[in-house]
Symmetry: C2
Subunit: 343 residues, 2 copies
């Protein structure tokens, strides 16, 4: 990034043209993309899922340790994760950004490189958006659309008593990655000469900076003809999300601490901070794994997929929501997920 | 607004529940609304138009003179205007907001009251969104979806040589409204005791603070079986928009100054600022009228609608884009519309 082109040399429309000129549409349903008042999509015989996220500098990301390319990638991923959490396949996104003039065109290009990398990997078309100047920090707003066969979408309200509670991948690592990066930022601010010490932490840092959406899990459901009874993505920690399903489905739950999937690298890293790895899995954020419930009759279908862990089961609402610890204790599940509005 | 409830007393999810509990869905195509990872829409046999806008405090609006209810209303309108500009009917919106803790729940309620008023008036469902804290100003991101019969959407690229150039309503008034409010703000900042003098300026101020989207024009097209060859909405002034159509359709144009529709109240107000009303119509912004081109064969159908003015015609690209003035002059059309990125 040796060159610095001021955004003002392109102007708003020039910038949009510059950023979107290489788009190649990937979905047959995308009839008209960027460049008009709106985009046009054809969804004959399918249903459309729509989801949106607003990401703000200083609230959701810190540019001190977030490369713009990774930020672009992740901004797309967090939206696609919501589409998969409806049991749907993402097809299109719109992207609006607010940027201050401290960004060069090259910096904005890096951000878009990440956006396009994610779009290509997940087969999604960027079909529109809005570009404006921001007088404060970087602002990113993405809306994602997806397709699902009629009435095959899966809500949060339809888990049943006795259903198994499952999660994909492993939990809590992104939160530990954040702790490392915040620590190194603090050291750097105090002693700018000190080089960051992130040796051996690539797993947890990768989980924070470059998460993936669980396309593979949704494809697995389709292959196995497995219809979960409820799905959510895990962005605020397992506790917060399972409580949403309990509330929305009017049920209780039991979780088993020993069943919660935790990566070895994350466990080691958590101990460096003297933090309980289970607490990170329950209350950390930004894992973008899927949490879902299935009928016990479907248990056999899961065994084939080592990316899926059964962590508990749904109960009658009167029993509340509990976690059974490795030590034999029983504690209520409490939501301590990232609540930006309470900060 | 006597009561002040801190947003922190509700929390993020409490706030979302509070803001969305009274939603009544209006469109049969809305299968699932707010409350899950995504919303679900059914568009069998129709095409979907999608458009999005990002509105930032200090860039797009000034809370010193913009009531929150009006801001909520207008935020919806600017998106619906883009949907109508595709010859489509808006059906759903998603709304994301970033709010700082200087806002009370009551203030956010006022904003949403405006949002719901616009949704009800235009028959649109609010189906989802994102709510987060902002460390700086108020941030509003809306994505609107609309329906259109297969291949009845209208682009900017398909105007034809000889087509008539038409606009709805009248132009330039919102810009004059802005000048009044900016003037009164400046006076108030210098002498806080002075009461604002906006007597007699309700038309131009109303055009700025509470614009409408031209649903009636799209309905008129359908009734008359009139298919424009190109449509855009006028958000950056007539000059900027007609140059978009010229560029995208590879044509030139001739505009007649005397044909440009200007409201009497706007003309009087412009003279108070010693500004040429035509310049406001050409380069002012935020009119949210429709600019469209039609075949000369369809001229007879227009006569029935006094909300539509023919202001010129499309030419070969070699002839460039010109305006013929009342005094008999001929000037090139230049885009001096609001370009936020150049500020």
């Amino acid at each position: 990034m040796n060159q610095r082109t001021e955004i003002s040399t392109l102007g708003e429309f020039g910038l949009i043209e510059h950023l979107t000129k290489n788009i190649e549409l990937q979905n047959a349903s995308t009839i008209l993309g960027v460049g008009d008042d709106g985009a046009v999509i054809d969804h004959f015989g399918r249903q459309t899922v729509i989801t949106t996220d607003l990401l703000l500098e200083g609230v959701h990301f810190d540019l001190a340790y977030t490369p713009l390319k990774h930020l672009g990638y992740k901004s797309v991923i967090v939206n696609l994760s919501d589409v998969y959490a409806m049991n749907a396949t993402p097809t299109q996104i719109t992207l609006s950004i607010g940027i201050s003039n401290r960004f060069s065109v090259e910096a904005v290009d890096e951000f878009y490189e990440g956006v396009y990398t994610a779009c290509n990997k997940y087969g999604v078309d960027l079909i529109g958006g809005d570009t404006t100047s921001s007088k404060t920090g970087l602002i990113i707003s993405i809306t994602a659309l997806g397709e699902v066969a009629p009435d095959k979408f899966v809500k949060r309200t339809t888990a049943q008593k006795g259903d198994l509670i499952c999660v994909s991948g492993d939990l809590g690592a992104a939160y530990i990655g954040l702790l490392f990066l915040e620590r190194e930022k603090k050291i750097f601010m105090e002693s700018p000469g000190v080089q960051p010490d992130l040796e051996g932490e690539s797993y947890v840092i990768g989980r924070l900076l470059k998460p993936e959406a669980r396309k593979d899990i949704i494809e697995f459901f389709a292959q196995q003809e497995l219809m979960p009874t409820a799905i959510m993505d895990i962005s605020d920690g397992l506790s917060s999300e399972i409580l949403h399903i309990c509330k929305d489905s009017n049920l209780g739950c039991v979780l088993y601490e020993e069943k919660i999937p935790i990566h070895e690298e994350m466990k080691k890293a958590a101990y460096k901070f003297e933090i309980d790895p289970t607490a990170c899995a329950l209350s950390g954020g930004e894992d973008y794994e899927l949490l879902f419930t299935i009928s016990q009759n479907d248990y056999d279908k899961l065994v084939l997929n080592e990316q899926i862990s059964v962590v508990g089961y749904m109960t009658e609402p009167e029993l509340g929501s509990h976690i059974l610890t490795k030590g034999g204790g029983k504690h209520p599940v409490t939501a301590q997920g990232w609540n930006h509005l309470k900060k």
